[in-house]
């Protein structure tokens, strides 16, 4: 009997010497249940599963890695205090990304001062590429990020969720409460718009 089976059965008789790796195959709802029973490994597994993508996603809204980490911590604390009652599709992802988005937008709104992010912190140098190629890549990347910011908000949200949060279109649709086809269409349109914007910028 695996740990997930024990959790699914609602039993608290867990062996003491568990590790996060034992929980990795458990579903999100099982992990939430174990977290509610005071099991630290439940929340640790959830953190391990989602933290990096949540931080990358939040960073696009708050424009700062440190603030994104703060947002991520708040999201997990919110999960601990008030976990979602039901998980659509059994995945915690849509709930987490929805909360992250709301908190990040709220934090950006409340921010009273501008935080200047050093680009060197965000893009560590790659020794294999030449400085000229690096500069060009960095410029292109910054340009594309700026172009994404120019997209209509409904397209931008889909791009962030698909590219930064690495969600499937099904999860994107659940996070934004839109049909899956609409999410896919918005992504198509966003890519087309980005190409057009880049072309017009290059001229």
């Amino acid at each position: 009997m695996s740990i997930c089976d024990i959790l699914a059965g609602g039993s608290l008789a867990l062996p003491l010497e568990n590790s996060v790796s034992d929980y990795t195959s458990c579903s999100d709802s099982d992990l939430i249940r174990s977290m509610q029973d005071g099991e630290a490994l439940g929340i640790e597994t959830i953190i391990q599963r989602y933290e990096t993508r949540l931080i990358a996603y939040a960073a696009r809204y708050v424009d700062s890695a440190d603030l994104a980490k703060d947002v991520c911590q708040e999201v997990f604390l919110k999960l601990v205090h008030r976990p979602p009652v039901d998980l659509p599709g059994g995945s915690l992802g849509p709930w987490l990304y929805r909360v992250t988005r709301n908190l990040a937008i709220d934090k950006r709104r409340r921010r009273k001062f501008e935080i200047i992010v050093d680009p060197a912190d965000l893009s560590p140098a790659d020794a294999e590429e030449s400085p000229a190629a690096l500069a060009s890549a960095s410029t292109d990347k910054e340009l594309v990020k700026r172009l994404v910011d120019q997209l209509p908000v409904e397209f931008r949200d889909v791009v962030y969720l698909r590219m930064y949060a690495d969600l499937s279109f099904k999860e994107v649709a659940e996070s934004l409460s839109i049909p899956q086809g609409t999410a896919l269409w918005r992504m198509h349109r966003a890519v087309e718009l980005l190409r057009t914007l880049w072309n017009s910028h290059a001229r």
Partner: protein, 199 residues
């Protein structure tokens, strides 16, 4: 944009740039400048996303785990038994009964007509305008407020008006004008008295 390009793009978007469908799109993009630009856009976004993926600081992680292991006191709720549930039902029912009792007790006062509150004195001389003022705590001598004066009903009702002939209508209008004038004069007198402080 040709349908073929959209088809390749769709596969890459759904399954990812690193998937076989993504590889197909890349191969196609070598001969299609539009697709090449789109592939480049997505690659740059993906690179940026990978760079932004960082871990939570250990301190933050510890704080979260600590909350799970030792929830704050206000989050700990005692187990509630059947007595607590019964009490929840009981106090609601009791509150409803008290509310209904209060409503029935207050009802006769609430339904009293405005005319009932007008002061009625035997001779009427002690209280001038007693019919137009509600009596206050001191018998209306010093504190008085305007009562709900019942306005005179129209001289002619709608059915009467339909049945009436021309002369009757003009007579009715004449009577109505006089009545309005009378009320206006009465109000002016009241205002004069109030302004002069004659009570």
């Amino acid at each position: 944009m040709p349908v073929k390009c959209e088809h390749y793009r769709q596969g890459a978007l759904v399954f990812g740039l690193r998937s076989p469908q993504g590889a197909l799109w890349r191969r196609h993009s070598s001969g299609c400048p539009s697709c090449a630009r789109e592939v480049r856009v997505l690659e740059l976004l993906q690179e940026d996303a990978v760079e932004q993926r960082q871990h939570l600081p250990q301190r933050a992680r510890r704080e979260i785990v600590q909350v799970v292991e030792c929830p704050p006191l206000d989050a700990v709720r005692p187990r509630r038994g059947w007595a607590h549930g019964a009490w929840g039902v009981f106090w609601r029912a009791a509150a409803l009964v008290v509310l209904l009792a209060v409503v029935f007790a207050v009802q006769p006062f609430a339904w009293r007509r405005p005319g009932d509150a007008v002061a009625r004195q035997g001779d009427g001389s002690a209280l001038p305008f007693a019919e137009e003022f509600q009596v206050g705590a001191d018998g209306g001598r010093y504190v008085a407020s305007a009562s709900a004066v019942v306005m005179e009903s129209p001289v002619l009702s709608w059915s009467q008006l339909r049945a009436a002939q021309g002369s009757e209508v003009s007579a009715g209008l004449h009577g109505l004008r006089r009545s309005v004038e009378r009320q206006r004069q009465s109000l002016e007198r009241l205002i004069d008295r109030e302004l002069n402080g004659v009570w």
